[in-house]
Symmetry: C2
DNA sequence: TTTCATGTAACTTTTAATGTTACATGATTG
DNA sequence: CAATCATGTAACATTAAAAGTTACATGAAA
């Protein structure tokens, strides 16, 4: 199953934008992700419509966050991406004649809905500011390791 | 995102096999699913190795359940299929250098693991006999509707 | 007016599931 | 034993969605 990494990529990009504080071009963001600028524009287009980011053309232009990090949840981003499916498994047919398949769909559908609700709920509770805080923690941790290393020399 | 319907298809097939009570050929099972016999053989090969089904060649041959319906969970079937991914979303890179991406992976990974555990747990608690019971309920329901209809004529 | 950046259409590539064809192997039946 | 039936499997083709690419239009700033 080919996995959809748009949410992951978008979160990555949004955090870099917040970290920068100034507009970032699609080109710069594409380098962050190791991808193509057009992929960035395509992905960000949905976020702009939802009011999560803004774009500016011309010199000094690029992408900026339209809201504070603590005003954007993972759920907001997921919805802005068009709510791609969370569960990798599916039914063979949505409204089957066969009673056996109906029973299978009912059992699986219930399980899928449960997991999807859990995940969606989690997404709605986590804010980009939470990720940014975790990033800062990792950053400080690395700095301490480096300081220790420098001292040892 | 293209969804994986092998679990759904396999459950469907296993219930039909149980319902029949005699060996069913790949051809017959393929008709149930509206697919190709080779797809059936390919899918069932894994289940045979795990001891969920048996296959017999030649006249009167075909596929049979190797265990009772209440001795097979959805989890057993999922594992026999090679444990395909349950979550449709993924990371861009598994062990990124970038601290931002590490923070993203950590946050998403936790959410994914939670949902996956919930789904896997659900699968381990549901048996094929539960689905068969639901099928029987649907079957009786339909019979009653038909009886009522016949009476009305 | 040149340069930089987004906006977007159209296309190719990639990947995994799914479907198909062809043929070998083994079991049953007459 | 030979014909038939069924699985076993390799080697393809097809499909669908993400991802990547190319080309060019649009608009803003220097």
């Amino acid at each position: 199953m080919k996995q959809d990494s748009r949410l992951s990529a978008t979160l990555h990009v949004l955090l870099h934008m917040a970290d920068r504080g100034a507009p970032m071009t699609s080109e710069e963001l594409a380098v962050c992700l190791g991808t193509n600028p057009v992929v960035i524009r395509r992905t960000m287009a949905g976020l702009r419509e939802t009011g999560l980011v803004r774009s500016e053309k011309g010199h000094g232009g690029g992408w900026t966050l339209a809201r504070a990090l603590d005003a954007i949840t993972l759920g907001d981003v997921h919805r802005a991406l068009g709510e791609p499916a969370l569960i990798a498994l599916g039914h063979r047919s949505e409204s089957p004649q066969c009673l056996v398949e109906q029973a299978v769909n009912a059992a699986l559908g219930e399980a899928f809905a449960e997991a999807e609700a859990l995940l969606a709920g989690h997404f709605d509770r986590v804010r980009l500011s939470d990720l940014a805080a975790d990033f800062s923690r990792r950053f400080d941790e690395r700095r301490q390791v480096h300081a220790k290393h420098d001292k040892a020399l």
